[in-house]
Structures are given as structure tokens and as C-alpha cells.
């Protein structure tokens, strides 16, 4: 399972500036936080109308985490 690659693939498909997509994992004991950075002009495409796109990304990442019995959290940054 490659959550970083999963996030990169999804984010790059959504944005206009895929070269500006960066994902960093910060691993804790109970949870791994993934920081997703995109160009500020692409933030709306990642978040979506009323946050729907961000919610969909979190659902996919959360389901992948469930299979590993791990808790993943996603932070979206400019």
C-alpha cells in the first residue's frame, strides 16, 4: 500500500499545476498525518464545492487505512 503515491495520483489528476503537488507523511504512534500541498490557485479544486472533493479524498485514504488497521489523517495546505 502506497498512501503517498495514492494521494499524489489523486491530487495531480485534479489540479492545473501537477508539478506543484507535494505529499509528506508524518508518522506518529497511533496516526500518520499526510500533508498535501498544492499551488494556492489549485486549492479550490482539491477542496471542491462545500468540501466535497476533500471529503472524497479522505474517504478513499481512510478506507485504505482501514485495510491496514491504521489511522490516516489528511491536512491540505497551500
Amino acid at each position: 500500500m502506497e498512501i503517498k503515491e495514492l494521494l499524489e495520483a489523486i491530487a495531480k489528476s485534479l489540479v492545473d499545476n501537477p508539478e506543484r503537488v507535494a505529499v509528506r507523511a508524518v508518522e506518529g504512534e497511533q496516526v500518520t498525518v499526510f500533508e498535501l500541498r498544492v499551488d494556492p490557485t489549485d486549492l479550490g479544486k482539491i477542496i471542491g464545492k462545500q468540501g466535497r472533493t476533500a471529503r472524497s479524498i479522505r474517504t478513499i485514504v481512510g478506507a485504505a487505512g482501514m485495510k491496514l488497521r491504521k489511522h490516516f489523517s489528511l491536512e491540505i495546505l497551500e
Binding site: 479544486k45 472533493t53 472524497s56
Partner: protein, 181 residues
């Protein structure tokens, strides 16, 4: 391990290179997410007059089918949402493609149509509006279309985000004389 299968081409439409970005992204989600899923692309077989369902179905199956359908198909809907946005299909094409698993969409669509008809009957009999449960945009469309030929009622979507719902109103002014909103 890559659990995805090469999609079987079920029609000339599904063979369109326009779908290649969608299947490429789906391959990555399945592979990198570690999901035990495979898929095939098929025509939905919808009747020509049925405009409320996609023409092309990406049918998912495999060991994670139950995971896809948990919580009212939350994961299936999430993957569909990302695919339709991320694949950047030509204008109008996004509505032609949908994801399904174990025939869940067809059964769900039938459930929505039946619920909408029962609720419309209730509205006609009582003269009071009736609010359906929250639905996805595609599901709300099914409810609106299910009632488009019933002149005694009219439908609107109200609310925001995940709480957006279809509300069915009587087409005529209610007992207080106020017109339906």
C-alpha cells in the same frame, strides 16, 4: 500486487480513448490504495428514454466490494467523485459514466424512484411538502426525474453539501393559500 484487470471492452463507446484517463486513474487508486478490486466497463443497457442513469458502467468487484458499499456506498461514491473530476472527461461525458458494484446503483435508483413516488402521493393527499433523505447529486437527479411527469407536485433541492435533500411540494397552493416555495 496489482489487483486490477484490464477492462473488457463491451462496446465501441467504452473503447473510446476519452475513457483512458478515467481507467488510468482508477488503476492507480486500486493499486496504491491496496484495494482488492477489479473492474470491467460495460454499457448500462438502459432504455433510450431513460436519461437518469449513465450509459457506461464501470463495474467493480472483488474482495473489497463490501468495503465499497458500506455506509450507503460511501467509498464507491468517493471514488466515482474523484474519477469524474480527475479524469477531466469532455463536457457532457461525465454524466454518461458511472461506477457500480453488485448492481448497487440499479437497486438504489429503483429504491429512490419508488420512494419519490410514494412521497409524491403523500404530498398530493395531505397538501404538505415532504423532504426526502439526503442524497448525492446523481441520486437527487433520479428523484427529480422520477416526478417530472407528475403535474400535481414539483420538486426542489434544498440544503447544502451532504445534507442537500429533495423536497416535494404540491403544485397547487396549499390549504393556507400560500403557493409552494
Amino acid at each position: 500486487m496489482d489487483h486490477s484487470l484490464q477492462p473488457s471492452i463491451a462496446s465501441s463507446t467504452s473503447n473510446s480513448p476519452e475513457l483512458a484517463p478515467l481507467t488510468s486513474l482508477l488503476d492507480k487508486i486500486i493499486r496504491h490504495g491496496g484495494f482488492e478490486l477489479e473492474y470491467r466497463i460495460r454499457p448500462s443497457g438502459r432504455p433510450a428514454e431513460d436519461s437518469d442513469s449513465p450509459e457506461i458502467i464501470v463495474e467493480l468487484s472483488g474482495g473489497d466490494s463490501d468495503l465499497l458499499l458500506e455506509k450507503n456506498a460511501q467509498l464507491l461514491n468517493a471514488i466515482e467523485d474523484i474519477l469524474l473530476k480527475g479524469a477531466r472527461l469532455p463536457e457532457g461525458a461525465a454524466g454518461m459514466v458511472g461506477l457500480d458494484c453488485n448492481d448497487w446503483r440499479r437497486v438504489r435508483a429503483e429504491e429512490i424512484r419508488l420512494t419519490a413516488q410514494m412521497a409524491a402521493q403523500h404530498v398530493i393527499e395531505t397538501g404538505q411538502p415532504y423532504t426526502l433523505n439526503p442524497m448525492t447529486p446523481r441520486e437527487r437527479r433520479i428523484a427529480h426525474l422520477a416526478l417530472k411527469d407528475r403535474p400535481a407536485v414539483r420538486t426542489l433541492s434544498e440544503g447544502a453539501g451532504r445534507d442537500r435533500r429533495v423536497v416535494i411540494f404540491p403544485a397547487e397552493p396549499d390549504s393556507s393559500g400560500a403557493p409552494p416555495r
